[in-house]
């Protein structure tokens, strides 16, 4: 590896080290391996316990067995493969997990009975028996495994029902997610009642009978299973409209879907297949997780379940998360909560008690790190379960009584949500679902609007707001008095923008007396979590239609007015924000290590610098000694090679060489800017290296001026001197500026200077502080002849003060006229060195330009004491010894030779020219 590659290599290594360090600090704990096996489990169910069904299941085995088991029950339309992630996650946390496809779904046989106690619940009960036979599962007794049941939606209801219906009480804990309490209320909600509502719990629903059919959601759910012709459990020879549904379920659904009303038998069927029917028998700790973005199973469903379970005196914990059937499946946070629940109640180890608190997440709108900011608020418990009522803040509404029209056929209809579509349409994330709130449309003539004053203070709505409305009928002979209305609660910004939180709507049905008497109804608006900023208004809108529901088709006119306290009863649940966590220790340690290393590195660097001076006392009076100086760049020509020379006090040394001879590189090494490959430069005995203090005795101008273009000449020089940190009176700024002789121009920005002016200023800068060694690179470049003349004068006289000047040039005449000594360089090597006079006119050597060269050479050789006569073109060189040049000329002329020119032999020029010529 060459030197050049080292820095890049070092960068890569260091970056890898950083990445490794960051990784180490944030390293994930090693994930235990999970084994799984697919099994087909035969169960027998039915009212008479005689119908064999084969369930397709997968069993996940954790690393350590025997382990407590968790039965994960699928949602509607899900198969066991949809549960793989949840199962693997639980298995990694140390649970044995059994997932399966419910009867009628996936590869399991049987027909869908909609969580019937006779079918699905019996199936699950026998799955627990299967778990009791597995050696990997921890057993509490014979045929009694340690088992928790969890599930979402359809599976969540099954988990509750299994806990209630399992005769042997083998279920030890339940986690039920986004599910219903009473399917007849969930699918046919009626959110109003003429009797006063008990608003003690935040998510209070009404659960009135004879509700409004949730047409679109029901269709979405049932439709998939209905149209599934050809799947297992369906006789391909006799296609029916019932798909994979059991006949009585199918009949009930068909009746509701066609009439929009449920008869008592249907309501009984739905109730029997709901957790509400077994709630009083559930005696195990239950975690209820419900979604804040859920128009299918709203917060009121979990609220009802929680209230029923609380009567059994069992630990119940309620969590609301910002998702749901409209807003995305539970994420890692909920998974963590479920796992913590099971860890405490199943593992009975040292897992912390998850408690029976209540937490809800508030979703903000600022997107940081790609996800909306959420804040979790934790209360000690779910209000209303243990005698502590939910605080309800009154927000007064105003608005006159308003007539609303139900159009014939129930169309066109207002829009609140797009059930099942909203999620897909908007990307399925909880972020997108919050945008769904802006889709709501109320049709004029069909809606009554009541608005509050702008709020003085921020208001956090957590649950279902209650209000009282007075509904009146406009007497009409054909009017039956049956009234279907939809209430929504908007958040209205100061600019009038409306948001329907949760895209949720509360449908209700009222039977009005036909005589036109108005009726007061107490309405429970949909359960939402919504921070309403100060200055915003709340707006209650009552419409006659909603696209998502089976609307009344008979035309009618109703008046809607505020009643009772003419206000909203907004649930407020205070608690601590649980978003706060302590400062994690590892990054803090990391920060400390970084700071410590930085101090260490700085100290080491300072110590190394302190010990770096290298002085040779014998050379203390020699301005400059260069020994064996070499600078080579890998892959390029060697710029300077084995250069050695010496400069003494009072000299003006010329560094002569053609362009590219290595002069500037030498001077850069002299200034400590370039590091020699070999050899050294000593200035007054001190070795030159970057930052060597002896450099302060050198004033330099090398390869162009360097000024801050935005500052004037004066400012540049004074700031430069200030940078040296030396006392101002040592600078002789005024004298130096006069040498530059720029006149008024010194007060102009340097950016406006010509090259010559910049050069003069740079030379003045080099002379600041009257340095002992003045180094000037091509100082006369760009100057005009009178200025050149002056410059020579300055240099000579400056050297005469006992200081030393080094000048580089590529012009021979320049060196000849300004320097006392010269060093000739070519291609990085020293060619000649010595006094200019010696080199220019060494000894008695002379050169004659003649017409007859051979004759001239003969004549010269015949003269007394001459030697070394050589001919070269029309030139004859000779060392005349004691003979004078004039005598030699006379001898030549006497011999009849025409002498055009006679002079000292210019060895320097010869050498220089030869070099340049051989170069070309």
């Amino acid at each position: 590896m060459t030197r050049q590659k080292w820095p890049a290599f070092g960068v890569v290594v260091l970056l890898l080290l950083v990445a490794a360090g960051v990784w180490w600090v944030n390293r994930p704990s090693p994930e235990p391996t999970v084994a799984s096996r697919d099994v087909l489990i035969d169960v027998v169910d039915g009212p008479n316990h005689d119908q064999p069904v084969e369930l397709d299941a997968t069993f996940y085995v954790p690393q350590v067995t025997p382990a407590p088991a968790v039965l994960v029950s699928p949602g509607f339309g899900q198969t066991k493969t949809n549960l793989a992630d949840d199962a693997t996650d639980l298995a990694r946390r140390g649970f044995a997990v059994l997932t399966y496809s419910a009867r009628g779904f996936g590869r399991s046989t049987g027909q869908i009975a909609l969580n019937s106690p006779d079918y699905e619940v019996q199936d699950a009960d026998q799955l627990i028996s299967w778990l009791a036979r597995q050696p990997e599962v921890l057993q509490d007794g014979p045929d009694n495994p340690r088992v928790g049941v969890m599930g979402g939606s359809y599976g969540g209801a099954l988990a509750l029902m299994l806990a209630g219906l399992d005769k042997k009480k083998r279920v030890d804990a339940v986690a039920s997610l986004i599910t219903y309490n009473d399917l007849s209320h969930a699918l046919l909600p009626n959110a109003a009642s003429t009797t006063p509502l008990d608003g003690s719990t935040p998510g209070t629903g009404v659960g009135g009978a004879d509700g409004v059919f949730k047409k679109v959601w029901a269709g979405n759910l049932f439709g998939t299973a209905l149209s599934n012709i050809g799947g297992p459990g369906i006789n391909p020879k006799a296609p029916t409209s019932c798909g994979r549904f059991l006949k009585d379920v199918c009949d009930a659904y068909t009746k509701v879907a066609t009439t929009g009303r449920a008869d008592q038998a249907t309501v009984d069927l739905l109730r029997r297949n709901s957790p509400v029917s077994v709630a009083d028998q559930i005696s195990v700790p239950t975690l209820l997780v419900q979604g804040e973005q859920d128009t299918l199973f709203g917060l009121d469903q979990a609220d009802a379940t929680a209230k029923q379970l609380a009567r059994n005196n069992i630990p119940v914990k309620v969590d609301w998360y910002p998702g749901g059937h409209d807003g995305g499946a539970p994420g890692d946070d909920v998974r963590g909560d479920v796992a913590a629940w099971f860890a405490f109640y199943l593992m009975k180890g040292d897992a912390p008690n998850p408690g029976t608190g209540f937490s809800y997440e508030v979703q903000g709108t600022i997107r940081a790190r790609g996800a909306p900011i959420t804040r979790t608020i934790t209360a000690l418990d779910y209000p209303g379960l243990r005698g502590d009522r939910t605080t309800r803040q009154r927000v007064s509404l105003s608005g006159p009584p308003q007539p609303v029209v139900t159009p014939p056929g129930g169309s066109p209809a207002s829009i609140s949500s797009l059930p099942g579509v909203g999620t897909a349409l908007l990307g399925g994330s909880s972020t997108a679902s919050s945008l769904a709130g802006s889709l709501a449309i109320d049709l004029p003539g069909q809606s009554a609007v009541f608005t509050s004053a702008p709020l003085d203070a921020p208001l956090m709505i957590a649950g279902s707001t209650l209000t009282t409305l007075r509904i009146g009928a406009v007497p009409n002979a054909t009017d039956s008095g049956d009234t279907e209305l939809f209430a929504k609660l908007y958040d209205v910004g100061p600019d009038g923008r409306r948001t329907l939180p949760g895209a949720a709507v509360a449908p209700f049905r009222v039977q009005l007396p036909t005589n036109g008497t108005a009726v007061d109804v107490n309405v429970s608006l949909p359960g939402i979590v919504r921070p309403v900023a100060a200055g915003h208004r709340l707006q209650l809108v009552v419409t006659t239609t909603d696209q998502a529901y089976a609307n009344a088709t008979t035309p009618s006119v109703r008046t809607v007015a505020l009643s009772g306290a003419m206000s909203l009863q907004v649930p407020v649940v205070t608690g601590s924000s649980a978003s706060g966590s302590g400062i994690p220790a590892t990054p803090v340690i990391g920060i400390a290590i970084i700071l410590g290393l930085a101090v260490l590195v700085a100290t080491v660097a300072a110590l190394r610098r302190r010990g770096s001076d290298d002085a040779d006392p014998e050379l203390a009076d020699v301005p400059m000694v260069i020994t064996g100086l070499t600078k080579s760049y890998p892959g390029r020509l060697t710029a300077v090679k084995e250069l050695s020379f010496r400069v003494e006090h009072g000299q003006v040394l010329g560094l002569l060489g053609p362009n590219g001879a290595g002069k500037t590189t030498t001077l850069r090494m002299l200034m400590g800017l370039v590091r020699p490959t070999a050899g050294e430069i000593r200035v007054f005995g001190h070795k030159v290296q970057a930052g060597a203090p002896v450099l302060s005795r050198i004033g330099s101008f090398v390869e162009g001026a360097g000024f801050l273009p935005h500052l004037s000449g004066t400012a540049n020089l004074s700031l430069y001197w200030a940078s040296t940190g030396r006392p101002l009176d040592e600078a002789h700024l005024a004298e130096a500026l006069e040498i530059a002789g720029l006149g008024d121009a010194v007060r102009r920005r340097v950016g406006t200077y010509s090259q010559g002016m910049r050069q003069r200023l740079a030379i003045a800068q080099a002379m600041l502080g009257l340095p002992d060694l003045l180094v000037l690179d091509e100082p006369t470049n760009g100057l005009d002849p009178p200025q050149i003349h002056q410059m020579r004068d300055v240099l000579k006289r400056y050297a005469a003060t006992g200081r030393t000047v080094v000048v580089s040039s590529h012009l021979l005449s320049e060196v000849e006229q300004s320097c006392s000594h010269v060093v000739v360089m070519h291609k990085g090597r020293l060619v000649a060195a010595g006094e200019v006079n010696d080199i220019v006119a060494g000894g008695g050597e002379a050169t004659f330009r003649v017409d007859r060269v051979t004759d001239a050479a003969r004549v010269l050789r015949d003269l007394n004491g001459t030697s070394g006569v050589t001919a070269e073109g029309r030139l004859v060189h000779a060392d005349l010894g004691t003979t004078s040049r004039s005598a030699a000329v006379t001898a030549l002329v006497n011999a009849g030779i025409a002498v055009e020119q006679a002079g000292p032999r210019r060895r320097l020029e010869d050498a220089f020219l030869r070099l340049v010529e051989s170069n070309d």
Binding site: G370, I373, A534, S581, A722, G725, H732, E735, L770
Partner: protein, 312 residues
Amino acid sequence: MTDEHGVHTDPAAIAELVAVAESEHAQVAADGSVAGYRASRTLRLGVELRRQLRRRRTQFAVAFLGVLPFLLLIAFKAAPSSNSGSRSASSAFVDLATSSGLNFAIFALFASASFLLVVVIALFFGDTIASEASWSSLKYLLAIPVPRGRLLRQKAVVSGILSLIGLVVLPAMALVVGLIWYGSGDLISTTGESLPFGTGLARLALAVVYLAVYLVWIAGLALLLSVSTDAPLGAVGGAVLVSIVSQILDSITALGDLRDYLPSHYATAWSDLLSADVDWGDMTRGAFSSLAYGAIFMALAARRFARKDITS
């Protein structure tokens, strides 16, 4: 050369200089330096600050950060209040911006943190050595001699001071503007919490502190590029480019946990300061990540600068 009519050296000036030079011969210290020279007094912070503060780019950058809140204010005042249904996350954010002076200042920070402040910090740090190199003045500073490590340190410290000035000017001006136009109300978070003015002010200050720490990695990177090139724009642009690429990668959710190692991953962690109960986790991790990257970049910059042949 009409331009240089006044340019000539008076012969008397030469005589004067020579006279001074003859009469004065500087003393020499043991380390070979001229008496009066001390490495620790070279390029003092005040001098470097004067050099930088007189530059247009410094004045413009700081002035722009001071004016930005007014531009935001004008934008808010001029924006037509639309009733259109499309309500994006950012519009809700804008709603909050005008609810109090503190919210306005926080909004100004939000609006500028991911790009503008990165550019400003990259400008101050990336330009500092490279511009000297491009003016050829670097070699004369080094020949003073200012020891290389000291030169880099002094320049980095001054760049840091200028960056801090910029970082404080923006929210401070935004706060002043916000207080005048939107009052000293509570700081409202989008999750509906409100913090009283005093707490809100402290949070704003902490946000600035976090941003200052977070931007260390940009500073380090820009400094490394600054000593690696003679083109100031290359150093500034390079640092900004890396930050943008990191932000783009950070927005690819498919990268999962790998994104934690991106230096810009914790850029907005300071938004955790806006709730009553502060989650310090991401900010601590962000500070560590940024300091780690920053320390490495700065160490590389120092190493590279110490060994580099100055040829500009």
